[in-house]
Symmetry: C2
Subunit: 314 residues, 2 copies
């Protein structure tokens, strides 16, 4: 299978660290040192997970207008749903007006991007689909309490859409070489470390250290496993795109793998943690720099916990 | 693929129609006439989507304790999440303590059961799994406003777990012969008719008539399509298990298909609309009555909209 196109949507409004200094007394330098985050985006009134997903999808389709002919699957992903019934995937189906195709939304928190792509891989393997939209969208600010001094400053909003086809459609398509996902709800404080209980309305991270430790370990481990089973070394990786949770996590993963800083793609500085959209947004920004033979590894870690790694080749 | 075991969990507390007579002035007869619902279950304090899913899964595994060896996939489904990060599937992984297997939760509202099984079908087709837990769990009362005179009396809580394997494990296993799912977000008032926006905390159904019409049409149509492509007639269907939304919808679907009342399985009378768990709970209750050669069709319709049909053979 091939990633034919990737596009992102980011809300226009920028929230700087100074906002959290005024609100909670957290200094710009303190936030930078602990997270790498300089600013993040916030959805406007009237924007939500569904509208951002539609925007990202329309951008992807504007760059590849012929893709919609034969579109036969939509998989949405979010842990910050606007509507769990008219889900993010249904909102995209509604906007695209493509009837009678499988449509489903998922969550494995910040690692959903790879679960969504693996579900597409399954539909392709069954022969039940051959051209899919995967859309990842997070409206963290709808559930985040920005007065939370522990994690309120971490989150940003954004969305991205991948157009994925069974057959190669263009020379610039990225071939999906291999993909691993795994739930890790059995380790550490997976059940309490980071949670979003909608009835209590809260996105909270009471055990950030546990998340940090397991994110570092799991992303490094699954990336090594992915490379090993494809007989590749880290030197073969043109770009590593880790889940955009925290710049210190990214640096730790790079160090464990023995990769230099410049090989990692990071948007956390400008976007904060955009959940399952973060790595896809980074892929959208990276794609055009790739040349034939280049390899990209996307590795993710989500609350709950979950992890994954995917190998792409231009 | 084969359904090896099915088990349900229902909270003990029963809410009768008299509760809604006292609260909203809706009479028992009026509710019965319009919905068929006599009573429904309500989760206790401390129970939620995740705890009910774990209970149902433990019951399924108690009936088939060897199934856990080789378990390699968990798919959860709910539109009434307790936690969108430590999702219902992650809670089950945590409880079962099975590490490093794909774990994901989904929603296509009341039709998620069939989307979840189709995702399992995909993992089996890829060779990435061969033994799966599918767990459907709804905590409608956490999101429902019972003072809503339009739809507050419809909803109930409950969960069910299916143990699904690629190969037949026992003579009593149900073979999954065929499965169709589809999003129908493009028809009618799909985007507004029934919604659950967690931030607004509401499960509401402002356009019940639109839901009714499309539920009847889609469930009848997809069931006909499923039977036709398997060269079966309605006379070959031992039991039809429709989504348990409303007894009038069930009767309408039966009439469209030309099936007598006794061929439909209904639990709506005792459980109300238990969302994506309803048809699975009905399957748990029906399974032991089946004899070799019997065929069961499960057909679903969900808000947003979505539909599906699955053919099982004993």
């Amino acid at each position: 299978m091939y990633i034919h196109q990737v596009a992102a949507y980011l809300p226009a409004h920028i929230v700087t660290n100074e906002h959290f200094t005024r609100l909670n007394g957290l200094s710009h330098d303190w936030i930078i040192e602990r997270t790498g985050i300089r600013e993040r985006r916030k959805a406007a009134v009237g924007e939500n997970t569904n509208t951002m997903a539609i925007e990202a999808t329309q951008r992807a389709l504007a760059a590849a207008p012929e893709f919609i002919h034969g579109l036969d699957l939509i998989v949405g992903a979010t842990y910050t749903p606007y509507d769990t019934i008219f889900t993010v995937a249904h909102a995209v189906q509604h906007a695209l007006d493509v009837a009678d195709i499988p449509v489903v939304s998922i969550s494995s928190a910040c690692s959903s991007l790879l679960n969504a792509i693996e579900i597409v891989e399954g539909y392709f393997a069954m022969g039940k689909a051959s051209r899919a939209v995967v859309v990842v969208s997070e409206h963290n600010t709808a559930y985040n309490n920005e007065e939370d001094t522990i994690a309120g400053h971490l989150w940003g909003d954004g969305a991205a859409t991948l157009l994925i086809s069974k057959e190669r459609l263009a020379e610039t398509d990225l071939r999906m070489v291999d993909l691993i996902t795994g739930g890790a709800a059995t380790v550490g404080k997976a059940n309490t470390a980071v949670t979003l209980k909608p009835v209590e309305r809260g996105l909270v991270m009471p055990h950030g250290r546990d998340v940090f430790t397991h994110a570092c370990q799991h992303m490094a481990r699954v990336t090594s496993q992915l490379l090993e089973r494809n007989q590749l070394g880290v030197e073969d990786v043109t770009y590593l795109i880790p889940h955009q949770a925290n710049l210190r996590i990214t640096r730790n993963v790079l160090e464990s793998l023995g990769l230099p800083t410049e090989r990692a793609v990071s948007n956390i500085q400008d976007l904060g943690n955009t959940g399952c959209a973060g790595a896809a947004i980074a892929l959208a920004d990276t794609r055009e720099q790739l040349t034939p033979g280049n390899k990209v590894v996307i590795t993710v870690f989500g609350g709950g916990y979950s992890y994954g790694a995917m190998l792409l080749e231009r």
